[in-house]
Amino acid sequence: MGEVLTKIEIITKTDKFDAFKQEMAKIGVSGITVSNVLGTGLQKGYVETYRGVKREITLHDRLKIEIVVCEVPVADVVSIASKIFKTGKPGDGKIFIYELGNVINIRTGSEGHAALKNEPV
C-alpha cells in the first residue's frame, strides 16, 4: 500500500467540539473518536476549597480528539483545528501526528484507505 495513514490526536478544551465536528464532516473526515481526559500543561491551575481546606488543582478537563485520515490532507485538519480551538491563551492544547500501519473496517473487512471510506450502506 503506497497510501499513508495518519492519526491526528488533538488535546484541547472541551467547549468547541460541535463546531469542529461539523467542519470535519465538510472536508470528508469519515469518523472521529473523542474522549474525556485530564491534562496539565502551561495553563495555570485553580484552587478548590472544602471546609476551608485548599486543594490546588493542576489537572484540567480536556478533550482528546482522534481522527485517522488517508485521503483527507492532514494539513487541512490541523489548520481547521488551529482556527477553531485557538484562543491565544494557555490551555489551547496540542496536536500530535502519528503514522499508522493499517486500518481495518470491522463491518466490511476492507483495509487501508478503503476502510475509511463512508460508502452509503
Partner: protein
C-alpha cells in the same frame, strides 16, 4: 387553640419546608454538572437569608394589618407574634402560622432560580432575592392573604397561585430575558435526572402540606383539598405525557415529573374551591398547557428560561387562576365563590384582574430591582467563568470527583 390543628400545621410547615431543598435538587439535576452546586445554592440560600429577613420584617410587611397595599411594621422582629393564636387562625399559635408562611416566602424565591440558571452571578442573585422578597413578595402576599385589595376584591387564591407561582414564574422570566441566553444553551442536557426525580418527589410530597395546610385546620375543606391535589398531580402527568406522546412519540421521565408539577401548580389556587372531577380536568389541562409553554412558546419567543420557572409556575399558575374562576363552586366551600360553570361570571373577572395585576406588578418591579442590582454588580458572570462552570469559578468547588 386546638392541639390537633397545631400538630397538623407543624407537619404541614415541615412538608413545605422540604420543598425548597427539593427545588434545589430538581433544578440541580437539570443543569450541567459544572453548574449544579451554584444552581442548588441559588435555591438553598433563601433558606438562610429570607428566613432571617422574614422574622425581622418580611412577615410584618406581609401579614400585619397595614393598609390594602402592604402590611405595617407592628410585627417586626416577631413583636406580638407569639404562642397566642393570631388573627389568621383561632386554632393554631400565631408563631406557627408565621413559620408556615415563612416556608412559602422562602420557596417562592427559590423557584425563581430556575429562570436564571447557569449564568447569573451568585452575589447578584443574593442581593436580588433580598430586595425582591421585600418589594415584590410581601405586597402580593398582603394583597391576597393579608387582607389587601385582592382579598377585598374577592379574587380567590387558595394556596398561592398568584402569590407563589405566578410571581416567581414572571420574575424568573424577566430575569431570564435580562440576562440573555446561556452560552451553549443548545447543547444543554440534564446532567443527572435521578437527582431531578428525587427533587420532584420531595416537591410533590411537600405540596400536600402546601395545599392541605393552607386550610390551616384539619377540616372538611382540608380533606377535599387533599383529594383534589392528589388527582390533579396525577392528571397533570397524564396530560403532559399524552401530548408529548402525540407530538414526539416518546413519553419522557422529565415530562412525567414536569407534568406532575404543572398539575400541582394549576390546582394550587383552586384546590379549596372546586370538586374532584374539576380537579382532574384542571390538572390534565395544566400538564398539557405547560408542555406547550416549554416546548413551543419558549422557543417561539426565544427567551432562555433555563429550567422553566415561567414555563411551569407562570403558565401553570395563570391557568390555575383562570380555572378557579371557571370551576369554583360554593357547594364545596362556602367561603369560596361560584365560578363561570356555576353560573357566575364575576369571579372569573376578578381572577383575571388578580392575574394581570400580579403580572404587571411583578414584571415591572423585577425589572427595576434587577437594574438596581446591576448598578452594584454585574448580573451575569463573564464568558470565561461560564465556560469553566459556575461551581468552580464562583464557589471554588466541584460537585463530583473521581477516586483518582
Amino acid at each position: 387553640m386546638q392541639a390537633a390543628d397545631t400538630v397538623f400545621m407543624f407537619l404541614a410547615t415541615m412538608m413545605v419546608w422540604i420543598m425548597t431543598p427539593g427545588i434545589a435538587l430538581f433544578y440541580g439535576g437539570m443543569v450541567k454538572s459544572k453548574n449544579v452546586l451554584n444552581t442548588a445554592m441559588h435555591s438553598f440560600m433563601p433558606m438562610a437569608v429570607i428566613s432571617i429577613l422574614w422574622v425581622l420584617v418580611g412577615y410584618s410587611l406581609s401579614f400585619s394589618p397595614g393598609n390594602s397595599i402592604i402590611g405595617g411594621f407592628e410585627w417586626m422582629g416577631l413583636n406580638n407574634v407569639g404562642f397566642e393564636p393570631g388573627p389568621y387562625s383561632e386554632t393554631i399559635p400565631h408563631n406557627l402560622f408565621m413559620l408556615f408562611q415563612m416556608t412559602f416566602a422562602v420557596l417562592t424565591v427559590s423557584i425563581i432560580a430556575g429562570g436564571i440558571a447557569e449564568r447569573m452571578k451568585f452575589s447578584a442573585f443574593l442581593l436580588f432575592t433580598i430586595l425582591w422578597s421585600l418589594i415584590v413578595y410581601a405586597p402580593i402576599a398582603h394583597w391576597v392573604w393579608g387582607g389587601g385589595w385582592l382579598a377585598q376584591l374577592g379574587a380567590l387564591d387558595f394556596a398561592g397561585g398568584n402569590v407563589v407561582h405566578i410571581s416567581s414564574g414572571v420574575a424568573g422570566l424577566v430575569l431570564a430575558i435580562m440576562l440573555g441566553k446561556r452560552k451553549g444553551k443548545s447543547e444543554s442536557a440534564p446532567h443527572n435526572l435521578p437527582l431531578t426525580f428525587l427533587g420532584a418527589a420531595l416537591i410533590w410530597f411537600g405540596w400536600y402540606g402546601f395545599n392541605v395546610g393552607s386550610a390551616l385546620s384539619i377540616n372538611e375543606v382540608a380533606m377535599n383539598v387533599f383529594v383534589n391535589t392528589a388527582v390533579a398531580a396525577a392528571a397533570g402527568i397524564i396530560g403532559w405525557l399524552l401530548v408529548e406522546y402525540i407530538v414526539n412519540k416518546k413519553p419522557t421521565m422529565l415530562g412525567a415529573l414536569s407534568g406532575a408539577i404543572a398539575g400541582l401548580v394549576a390546582i394550587t389556587p383552586a384546590c379549596g374551591f372546586v370538586t374532584t372531577p374539576s380537579s382532574i380536568l384542571i390538572g390534565a389541562i395544566g400538564g398539557a398547557v405547560c408542555f406547550w409553554g416549554v416546548s413551543y412558546l419558549k422557543s417561539k419567543l426565544g427567551y432562555d428560561d433555563a429550567l422553566d420557572a415561567f414555563g411551569l409556575h407562570g403558565i401553570g399558575g395563570t391557568w390555575g387562576g383562570i380555572a378557579t374562576g371557571l370551576f369554583a363552586t360554593t357547594k364545596v366551600n362556602e367561603a369560596g365563590a361560584d365560578g363561570l360553570f356555576a353560573g357566575d361570571f364575576n369571579l372569573l373577572w376578578k381572577q383575571l384582574v388578580a392575574i394581570i395585576a400580579t403580572y404587571i406588578f411583578v414584571a415591572v418591579l423585577t425589572f427595576v430591582i434587577a437594574k438596581l442590582v446591576g448598578f452594584v454588580t454585574s448580573l451575569r458572570v463573564n464568558e470565561e467563568d461560564e465556560t469553566m462552570g459556575l461551581d468552580l469559578t464562583l464557589h471554588g468547588e466541584k460537585a463530583y470527583h473521581e477516586s483518582l
